[in-house]
Symmetry: C2
Subunit: 596 residues, 2 copies
């Protein structure tokens, strides 16, 4: 045996890591708790314990000063699919992990892959079900093994060891999604052995499983699932805690199955917030038990979500580490409320904004928020507040009188409405999110907890964080999916922290969100409008600034995005050609998925 | 008790059938074998036996002269979704059964719905798995029962009785897909009780389950699955034995999951043949063990189907009563063959048609057909034969010499190739299908078994059947899905038997097929290009001429098609708006699924 790390861990994993000149800093005493009990090892070393990987990884990353190798072997530029097909060892990850190294071994993965789950989260149903899903994704192709036999010993990888340190499965903003993933050959020497994922929470483990699944590729020659460029050492965590996708179910209704398809595909790109723009002026699909006539505002009796449907969606999302942030967009996008309760309209000819002058309006608002509180555990709740045209308030006698009695302008009343809605939401233990118009119009009146949601253009988050507000970046010029002329690189090159240099202020930008407004999107085309462009934003939101390609992205990111788009289609997702000049256009002609 | 049928079957089912004046033809002696043993019945009646429904239905249909009520209560014209939402008892079926009656009762269906499978097919895995799938489709919405309790007695329907008379599960052209479906309340009097499906084969049972699933709708008011307009008596069978969809996996590759999605959705419309146009000039994705270099013609190493993949697709389709008709399109659409075996090209500059002058060409063809014989059990095999431009044959010295030695023109050589391919296919126990050019050019030379596949325009099937050939109708002007300007009613109004009046000749038209050529379709948009227009053709192919609406279809069919499109989206299928003037256009603006 050699000295240092090679001694510690055998040759399977660590020996191929790119040792720095200073690796001698790692003395045996620093890492001895992690030595495996092996006949070839001194018996003084204890057996592996659930926490060992955690410390091992920490020390490794300190000792090795791991840096990503993003522009070398692993991430290549290719000119054509035929070039791709000549290299049997290409592996593409999307979004790119923050830190990783790889080697040159090829491992065959056993179709009977098993999971060994340990740590305080050892009983997690979330992780076990995720493993089952990923196993299905990884082993899509049935049949043949080149070995002919079925013995586990024919394969290099037969087990995924997952260590989850916490048994707390609450999913909230800022939940720890970090993970470490090691993939190596089990040669009986390594303490790591095969595949190991270590995470503080189950949600970190989910992210690790996704990454692992992307390392696995079906090799048509041997008809086995293989992992190229092993051993892999990946240390990863999200750049932003809020990585969202808005879905608008008012302009068009999306059946539960379609919403689940969207959520499932979000998890492939490590997005973690579904911003559910449930209700708008066109339709009110959600059941509100306190005001049972509200969903009379649905398009039809079939285009509705029961409380149980909504809860099921929230649970389905949670199982994939995705929060659901609900929105009711008041007072400007709420005409459909009045279908069931016409009193919410100032008059039959003034149906929007909601009637600011009636207590009933706020009673209904409170009732909705109370009922939604039971459905949506996420701490953020979106109160909208955008595009409020108050013109017809002043032409409605009752509202006009109410304003005069209070010596208020319509603008004052808009502010009054938003602030009152915030108070109600906060009283129900919610943190309010509002579209940027509220900030642009009366920033000083907003509750300091407010999360400002940018959309109109650049430069809003810098102003918001300067005043101490948190901010979500959704600049419509680059991150609105219904802007069909924004190409993948428009999404990719966007920068949520643009214009913010103070690192303290930068932390107030909790993330960003791509928005799928549905005026011209419906179940027939929503996935092809979302993907692959949402994935471009997802990498911007996940991958650390240092690791993410920033220049020459057509060489460093485009090929990977092609690959990810094709991975989506292999998983049954209707992702559009990457290089469309206009989103969701059909492919221009025959050709490879990896080329279009 | 009253006399006649009401005496026989209690009041639950039969009493609401539209009795004809001649119902007295049914005497008790005719139907006595089917009397249930019931305390309220004479004890001389035997207990129900598995075959009783079969005879009962036969006699019922004779006695009652059942006719469809397609333009009365059940099929309505509505002007808007809001109209729809006012009627809680609308039920739409697509494709329309050939004969049915309905009543005015509403039944609640137990979420714990069970199946009782009997007859010689009682052990069918195909039926049991289908029932499980349909149960998932029917009970998409979790939760609440208006009754609060979970006792089965709270529901009207708790069991589906399926009787399959044959245990032969071979799926071939002309397999019996007929079924009878009765849905009524179980009140302890009826021998039918709840839901009964009777079919001669498992495939008829599958069609019955699909129809049953369309009768079941989730009622958002009670939060239960309900069946309106019960009791239902449906007697149904396909008009044509061949109801196909062509999928072209050469111009773009479709991953297995996408193909499965397509097959699954075909079953919803009762289509029963996937015409798999596997290979064309652009790519050769299929593994051929005898000639392992052939799939080097795939776009990339990832855009391939293994033998096991193909078999899995065939099996997946069979489980849904769908045959897979494979095609290799020779000699004109086969350039990709030469990527692995350049000898198949006449020269490097003449890569198509395949080299007619070499034995090797036919050896490879034979090897492909032999290997495919193990994958595709369907008796029909498509040999293509269309669009053969032989120009470059005559400029290739070796081919030119070969032609001269045999005193053959290029046209002769085209015929020689097609006939030789037919002989090879027939020798492997296949019935050859060829595109119409072969018939148009040398009809008299074609093997009499040949099925002529129309595509160029109208009037071909009349000529083909006049000469004794079988024919498949795919007139590109109405049934090519890549013709995006053909609207739903263009598909709907097409008539495979147009121009054929002789009933003997009509029988030679085995059916029709809609074609999804993939020059500009890929996984991102294929389902939205197929649906809902393929459904329009599916009703033309399934529903008897007498039962299918032929006039004023925007009143008799359009509303149902809207409903079916929305049913597809509820099942997760990306079906486009029905009234698009141009297929797969996005919806023009916000609105209800039932309106667009």
């Amino acid at each position: 045996m050699g000295g240092g790390l090679v001694v510690l861990h055998g040759k399977s994993i660590i020996s191929s890591l790119p040792l720095k000149p200073d690796h001698s800093l790692c003395t045996p005493s620093e890492v001895s708790p992690f030595f495996p009990s092996s006949p070839k090892m001194s018996t003084r070393f204890p057996t592996i314990n659930p926490k060992s990987l955690h410390y091992l990884f920490t020390i490794l990353s300190i000792c090795l000063h791991l840096t990503p190798l993003i522009n070398s072997r692993t991430i290549r530029t290719v000119n054509s699919p035929s070039h791709l097909s000549d290299d049997s060892s290409i592996t593409y990850l999307w979004p790119l992990p923050s830190e990783f190294t790889s080697g040159n071994e090829t491992l065959a993965v056993d179709p009977d892959l098993s999971i060994s789950l340990s740590g305080n989260g050892a009983n997690s149903v979330i992780v076990r079900e995720a493993f089952a899903r990923y196993k299905t994704l990884i082993f899509k192709h049935v049949g043949g093994s080149k070995f002919g036999g079925t013995s586990n010993s024919d394969y290099d990888v037969g087990k995924v060891t997952v260590i989850v340190h916490s048994d707390d499965e609450e999913l909230q903003l800022g939940v720890d999604e970090s993970y470490t993933l090691l993939v190596g050959k089990n040669n009986g020497l390594s303490i790591i052995g095969e595949v190991a994922i270590e995470a503080n929470t189950v949600y970190g483990a989910l992210r690790g499983l996704e990454t692992f699944s992307q390392l696995c590729g079906f090799d048509y020659g041997t008809k086995t699932v293989q992992i190229y460029k092993a051993p892999w050492f990946i240390k990863d965590k999200p750049r932003f805690e809020f990585r969202g996708l808005l879905l608008d179910t008012s302009r068009h209704y999306y059946p539960i199955d379609i919403i689940k398809q969207i959520i499932e595909s979000m998890s492939y790109a490590k997005l973690n917030v579904l911003h559910w723009h449930i209700i708008d002026e066109q339709s009110f699909p959600l059941e509100v038990p306190a005001y049972p006539k509200l969903w009379k505002g649905a398009y039809t009796k079939w285009e509705r979500y029961t409380v149980e449907d909504a809860s099921e969606i929230v649970n389905f999302a949670k199982m994939r580490g995705i929060n659901v942030m609900a929105e009711i967009d008041v007072p400007g996008h709420a005409e459909s409320w009045g279908t069931g309760y016409p009193d919410l309209w100032p008059s039959s000819s003034c149906r929007e904004p909601l009637d600011v002058s009636k207590n009933f309006t706020f009673e209904v608002l409170s009732g909705i928020l109370q009922d939604m509180r039971d459905i949506f555990p996420f701490e953020l709740f979106h109160l909208g507040g955008d595009e409020v045209n108050t013109d017809c308030w002043k032409y409605t006698p009752s509202v006009k009188q109410w304003l005069q009695e209070r010596n208020m302008t319509e603008k004052d009343a808009y502010q009054y409405f938003v602030i009152k809605a915030q108070e109600i939401a906060i009283s129900k233990n919610w943190t309010p999110v509002n579209w940027e118009e509220t900030f642009n119009t009366f920033a000083e009146k907003l509750n300091p907890k407010t999360v400002v949601h940018n959309w109109l253009g650049p430069g809003v988050c810098p102003k918001a964080v300067a005043q101490g507000f948190k901010c979500i970046y959704s600049n419509q010029g680059v991150w609105y999916l219904d802007h069909l002329d924004v190409t993948w690189d428009g999404f990719y090159d966007a920068e949520p922290l643009e214009g913010i240099t103070d690192s303290v202020k930068q932390k107030l930008v909790i993330g960003g969100e791509v928005c799928m407004w549905s005026e011209t999107a419906d179940p027939s085309n929503v996935q092809q409008t979302i993907w692959p462009r949402a994935a471009a934003a997802a990498e911007r939101l996940w991958t650390s600034k240092e690791a993410a390609p920033t220049s020459n992205t057509s060489a460093t990111a485009l090929t990977r995005l092609h690959y990810f788009r094709c991975l989506l289609t292999r998983r049954g997702v209707q992702a559009s050609p990457v290089t469309n000049m206009y989103a969701r256009n059909p492919p221009y002609g025959p050709g490879s998925c990896y080329d279009q």
